[in-house]
């Protein structure tokens, strides 16, 4: 064990087991002062556990953690903060019933630096007397980040910081993170987005199956190496993510499974019309808050439209309750697994719930049938049932698979997926795309909203773009590359003159992506 004092944070041989499940075997992490260090790994590789141990939320079974060469093991988040480690978690850590000012007092955060960072991060006009419950999710994440920065930590940990952010805020966040490089502070950056890693990180530590398998310098072209380490032997399947071959032309007499005509809801949803045919995956693209949430709530029966018409198999329907939508064959997969799953019940019960608990019925459960159906679904989706027990013990990716499996088990006709791959590792994402494709091949109709534009070409036949509550574009998969989708999402026709700032954002995104793809393009980056 070498004591190197030039490292800001050093963790060696960290291990943690939960009952029979080994979360971490032997993880190590060495962070230099002033670097942005990526922590990467597939689902269940142990990233979250390592972060929880570093921030004192979980106690390790073994290993050593040193800060500036001195051994410091935190037993609570408060103690970790005193040691100079502050974390921004995936879910906002603000108390919903307190206003922002009280939330700052609770963590003894100085207000002036907080204000400064809010301004830097692009929401400087925030009213601090609002209750956290009334602030939109994206702003809450920014507030979390500003709060962490205002404490002036030595080590700042960002767990999927950009996952729920719209493009413009993501850019500001990455800019602020990038400016920390070379200073006193180090940042540990966890993200599934390679582009972001390439843009702001100096080095990456890669975890696989609970152990550190390598540390990579982030130079142009390093992504290949990272992916290789992360995925082990299956790297080849996931890296060739080119455009999918579009399925053949739709027969002329095909009847849409689901038709929306001029749907509207309050001020958010103005006029949305589309047809969804059996056997296709229809993508929905929109920037944050363009009415997609309302659209999916209406389709899933959670909310009623204020205008317009909804047809299933050509017949007009009106959903008063999600059960009505399910009866009509429309099933919903939300981004937030907690919305769909009974976290404290078993995988089996969760999968069986919608099928064997006949909607509206109270009778006995056919156990033999239930077992058959559940086993089939678990196998088809390759759900990791190591823990066997409660769903909340599964990783995020496996939870999402359970969410999908519960509908697949019953034989799905129309699946509504709202950002199903949010915060999920590449491998599981790939499995989910494949599954959605398979479902479509088998005759199901799939509507897929995604916040990651790249997914459209990987999984969809065509896509509609929603802006300001209206469908502003319909694009075939072959033409739906990221620049085209982004232009459409900002409601800019390809020939139109773009406002300067939007153009700058798009150029930045494109350049960053080119830099990620080809090493020689890197010098064009501003």
């Amino acid at each position: 064990m070498t004591v190197t004092t030039d490292l800001l944070l050093e963790a060696t041989g960290v291990a943690k087991t939960y009952g029979a499940v080994v979360a971490l075997r032997s993880a190590s992490l060495a962070v230099r002062p002033g670097e942005v260090h990526a922590l990467m790994g597939a689902n269940g590789a142990g990233k979250s556990t390592l972060v929880k141990i570093l921030t004192g939320a979980v106690r390790p079974d073994g290993g050593r953690i040193a800060i500036r060469g001195r051994e410091r093991m935190a037993h609570s988040p408060a103690e970790a903060r005193r040691n100079g480690i502050v974390s921004v978690y995936q879910e906002p850590a603000l108390i919903p019933d307190l206003d922002i000012r009280d939330n700052l007092r609770l963590t003894e955060t100085p207000v002036e630096p907080f204000r400064h960072w809010l301004g830097e991060l692009g929401i400087g006009d925030l009213d601090l007397s609002r209750l956290a419950r009334q602030v939109p999710l994206a702003s809450l994440r920014i507030i979390d980040l500003a709060r962490a920065l205002a404490i002036e930590p030595d080590v700042l940990m960002l767990d999927e910081m950009t996952a729920a952010l719209p493009a413009n805020l993501t850019e500001r966040v990455l800019e602020v993170i990038g400016r920390q490089r070379g200073g006193e502070r180090s940042i540990i950056f966890i993200s599934h987005r390679m582009i972001e890693i390439a843009a702001v990180c100096d080095r990456a530590t890669v975890l696989r199956e609970g152990a550190t398998v390598g540390v990579v310098d982030i130079v142009p072209g390093a992504e290949e190496r990272v992916v290789e380490l992360m995925l082990g032997e299956i790297a080849k399947d996931t890296t060739d993510g080119g455009a999918r071959v579009a399925s053949g032309p739709r027969p002329a007499d095909a009847r849409p499974r689901l038709t929306a005509r001029e749907l509207s809801h309050g001020t958010k949803l103005q006029d949305v019309s589309f047809d969804l045919y059996p056997g296709e995956v229809l993508g929905v693209v929109a920037l944050e808050g363009q009415g997609q949430d309302e659209l999916f709530d209406i389709l899933a029966g959670s909310d009623r439209p204020s205008g317009g018409e909804l047809l299933v198999d050509g017949a007009a329907v009106s959903f008063r309750h999600p059960a009505d939508a399910i009866r009509a064959g429309l099933v919903y997969v939300p981004a937030d697994r907690a919305e769909a799953l009974l976290m404290q019940r078993s995988v089996r019960e969760n999968i069986a719930l919608p099928t064997s608990a006949q909607i509206g019925g109270w009778g006995p459960i056919n156990l033999a049938r239930e077992r058959r159906v559940v086993d089939g679904a678990v196998q088809q989706l390759q759900i990791d049932s190591r823990a066997g027990g409660e769903v909340r013990r599964l990783s995020g990716g496996n939870q999402q698979k359970v969410t999908i499996a519960r509908w697949v088990a019953g034989g799905v006709r129309t699946m509504l997926c709202f950002d199903p791959t949010r915060g999920i590792d590449i491998r599981t994402k790939q499995q989910i795309y494949t599954l959605l494709r398979d479902l479509a091949e088998a005759g199901a109709a799939v509507l897929l909203y995604t916040s990651e534009l790249k997914e459209i070409q990987l999984a969809c036949d065509r896509a509609i773009v929603i802006f300001g509550g209206r469908v502003v574009a319909k694009i075939e998969a072959a033409d739906a590359d990221e620049p085209a989708l982004l232009r459409a999402a900002y409601n800019l026709r390809s020939d139109a003159q773009m406002p300067e700032e939007v153009a700058a954002e798009i150029v930045a995104a494109v350049v960053a992506e080119e830099a990620a793809a080809t090493p020689d393009a890197a010098d064009r980056e501003p």
Binding site: I95, D97, G122
Partner: protein
């Protein structure tokens, strides 16, 4: 875009804005006060004789329940529930009555301090058991309710003891103007002295925080277990104050717990405290106690059957809470 930095200066709210904001945040309490005023007018209409004596009687009779409601409110805000409040009141009340009997006036001060310390201790025991054993709050406090009730009977078998004269004078009669009962003053002072400093401290914030979202509070560095115990300690303190007020207003100690525990839960719900934790305050429940008590008085004036009166009280409780959640629903939709 990089130059667009928002206003960095801290926009401090003007006093009038602060008042408006307070009223909006505490809309439920404000409307309860309005309802209480209407109820007073109604009482005067059906019983023209209702006057000074009525207000005096109301103040004295609600004092123990108002303090019990404050006690319940604190622990409910922290995300818990205390079913031993009635028993803690009985225990502290009989201890005070027994110790004060036949003792000089000055000794009464020592007894009051001792009983308040006893309240802190009872609360600390409740809270520690909840935190350490991780048994749900309801079960721990239900069980401890039996324990404290048993202890009260061990202290004295039948109602007895006595209250020091100055303690009785603290709550009986009026101060200056006969329309201002001493009991009301005592209530306001006690709640203000205990609750307002807590509300403004980090402890108060932490209590709201753990009730609102435990995980987020933990991650914000709030010592969740210690805060929970502190909430129970405050509940114990308020229960002891309620017990003392029982002794003061009746002049004796009664070892059998009154109906205070469940009434305090009703008052807390009616007073706008979310049973899920994190929302509300202690003033709403206190106003709710006034309303519940006045409604009962009115039903006596209307010479309604007592049993029917209890039924009506239950229906009012459900109705008011329903109206409240309906308003809230409308507000979130708008």
């Amino acid at each position: 875009m990089s130059t667009a930095v928002g206003p960095v200066d801290d926009a401090r709210a003007r006093p009038s804005d602060a008042l408006v904001q307070w009223a909006r945040r505490n809309g439920w309490t404000v409307s309860l006060l309005g309802f209480f005023a209407l109820l007073l007018v109604f009482t005067k209409l059906i019983q023209p004789n209702y006057g000074v004596a009525g207000v005096q009687g109301l103040a004295i009779s609600v004092l123990p329940l108002a303090l019990a409601a404050a006690a319940q409110a604190v622990v409910v805000i922290s995300g818990g529930l205390d079913l031993s409040i009635g028993s803690m009141m009985a225990l502290t009340s009989v201890v005070a009555a027994v110790l004060m009997k036949g003792q000089p006036e000055e000794f009464g001060i020592a007894v009051v301090i001792g009983v308040l310390l006893l309240g802190l201790l009872l609360g600390a025991i409740n809270g520690s058991l909840v935190v350490i054993t991780r048994v749900p709050d309801i079960i721990v406090t239900l069980a401890m309710g039996f324990v404290w009730a048993g202890c009260a009977l061990l202290v004295i078998k039948t109602p007895g003891g006595a209250a020091t004269k100055w303690l009785k004078e603290l709550v009986l009669g009026s101060l200056g103007v006969e329309w201002i009962p001493k009991a009301a003053i005592a209530l306001i002072i006690v709640v203000a002295v205990v609750w307002i400093p807590v509300r403004r401290s980090t402890l108060g914030l932490s209590i709201y925080a753990i009730g609102s979202n435990r995980l987020a509070a933990f991650r914000s560095g709030v010592p969740v277990g210690r805060t929970k115990i502190a909430a129970y300690v405050l509940t114990g303190l308020f229960s002891a104050l309620a017990g003392l007020s029982l002794t003061a207003s009746t002049g004796i100690g009664t070892p059998v717990p009154g109906p205070y525990t469940l009434l305090s839960v009703a008052a807390v719900v009616l007073g706008g405290v979310s049973l899920a934790g994190g929302r509300g305050g202690v003033f709403g429940p206190i106003v709710a106690v006034l309303i519940l008590s006045l409604i009962r008085t009115d039903m006596t004036f209307l010479s309604l059957d007592t049993n029917l009166a209890i039924v009506v009280q239950g229906i009012i409780l459900i109705g008011v809470v329903m109206v409240g959640s309906f308003i809230q629903l409308r507000r979130t939709r708008a």
